[in-house]
Structure formats: C-alpha cells, structure tokens
Symmetry: C2
Subunit: 158 residues, 2 copies
C-alpha cells in the first residue's frame, strides 16, 4: 500500500465525513475527491438525511465537486468499498485511482474497477471497519436498503 | 421486442422528460421508473440545470422515486442506453428490467447489465435518436463532459 501525504489528507476527510454522517443518524460512509492534494469535493451518504437513495458518499462528493471537463488527475477516497453505482461513476468519469478504507463489511465492486483499469488501494483501516460494523449491527434493515438487498416479507400464513 | 401498455406509458414519460430537458438547454435524456404501471419517479439529465455531474436521467428518476425497500418489480425506462454509473445503480438496487430508447448515440453498458441478469429491451426509437443526434452535433463539448470523455488540450506551442 502506497499512501502519500495527499492520500492521508484525502482519507482523513472521507473518514470525518463518515463520522459526521453517523452523528446525523445516517449511513456512516464518507468520501472525498482530491487532485494534486487539492480538495475538489467531499460528501457522505445522505440516504436518511435527504431521503435520497442515490446519495451514497461517492455520489455526494462528485455532486459537491461540481462539473469538470476532466477527472484524469483525481483520486477518490471512500471509507468503504464502492458499490456498483459508485464504481460505475468512477468508471464513467475516468477517475483512475481509488483509495478505500475497508472492504470487510461490504465487498463492493473492486474487481469491476480493476478490470476497467482503475488503481484500487485498500487501506484496511480498523476505524472505518468498526464504524460500519456498529452501524450494520444496529440498523440491519437500513443497511440492506442502502445496498439493495431485498428483505423478502415472511410467507403469508395459510 | 415486447412492450405492453405499461411500457408504452413508461417510455412516453421518459421521452417527455428528455424533451423537457432539451427545452431547458440541458442534456436531453429522460427516464422513468414504474411498478405494475404505477409511476414511482421520473427524471431527466440535469447536469446543466443543477450543475450536478451525477444528475443523469436515471439517477434523477431514482432520486425522485425516493427510498424503497425493494425494486424487484420495477422497470426503468431511459431514452438512451444507461452509462456505467446508471447501469451500476440499476445493478445495485436490483432493478430487473430496463427499456432503452436507443443505443446509436451512446452504447452504454448494456452488456454489463445483461451479464448481471438484467433484462434489457432496446426500442430503437427514431425520435430519441434524433433528439440526441441534434444535441451531440450542437454541443459536442457538453456531451463529452457528460460521458467522461476527456478533451485533451492542444499541445502547447514551443
């Protein structure tokens, strides 16, 4: 794993966003996008806060970064492995490097990212893992909703 | 191609959204999500209108549909083949059927969708094709921005 000072700053911002989300009662996943150490945008999962299923941390960070002609020199940081939607946004916009806090609570689509030429660095940060572990244990239904896991209703009595 | 009355209604809403977007000076791509013929949400690309790079038509429709525990019975309609981000959102949320207006102006990620078990129906609608063709011809830079195509600056004079 190769993290430089910019990476440590970018990841610290993502982790702070995750903590802010936890404090708001939201899904505690944070993200940031940096270019040569300059913060372009940060965000956090706002499903609960905004009632928006698409407001994953990475999407929120991209939204806050605003319009850009090119993302070629950017790195995206996320406290958790990016899902299919967020990985798709990374592929679409040509972000070439992604730094991920952890993949223990959710595997994400890291292989899809790698198959499209994105460099993926997994930090394996115990703080990020603990934050998600606590959340999933306390709010399993909300977590399943966020990652599209259908909780089939019990079969009707007959 | 198998379109029923619900499909025709869903696609008509998506196409109307695309036309609304064109009238606003936006990228003319529209989307809708229906479940058993009931409209859950509609949306259009709002990159220009909202300065939001993530506001593709499908993402906007999902946002407008709001939070749901399950998308298993839904169909998503889009006037254009969904990009990696929007295809990722379809995969994430477990939407099992997608009806696409056209794939001539942009191939999207239809193979990725099919490889994940999503049924993809391409209508090949000349109205949707003409709308995008005109837009791409008039605003090539904006279109490249929307699909993450880097327009490299000319080499510096020396």
């Amino acid at each position: 794993m190769t993290l430089d000072d910019h990476d440590r700053a970018g990841y610290a911002i993502a982790l702070e966003q995750a903590s802010l989300g936890a404090g708001e009662g939201g899904v505690p996943i944070g993200s940031s996008i940096l270019e040569n150490g300059v913060l372009l945008g940060a965000g956090r999962n706002r499903r609960v806060q905004n009632g928006d299923p698409t407001a994953h941390g990475e999407i929120d960070a991209l939204r806050n970064a605003g319009r850009r002609a090119s993302y070629a020199g950017t790195t995206l940081y996320s406290t958790l492995a990016p899902c299919a939607m967020c990985s798709g946004s990374i592929i679409l916009f040509g972000i070439r490097r992604v730094v991920v806090g952890e993949e223990k609570n959710f595997p994400g689509e890291l292989e899809l990212l790698r198959s499209r030429g994105v460099e993926v660095v997994v930090i394996d940060d115990p703080k990020a893992t603990a934050l998600m572990e606590d959340f999933v244990a306390e709010h399993p239904g909300l977590w399943n909703e966020d990652i599209g896991v259908d909780e089939a209703p019990p079969a009707p009595a007959r």
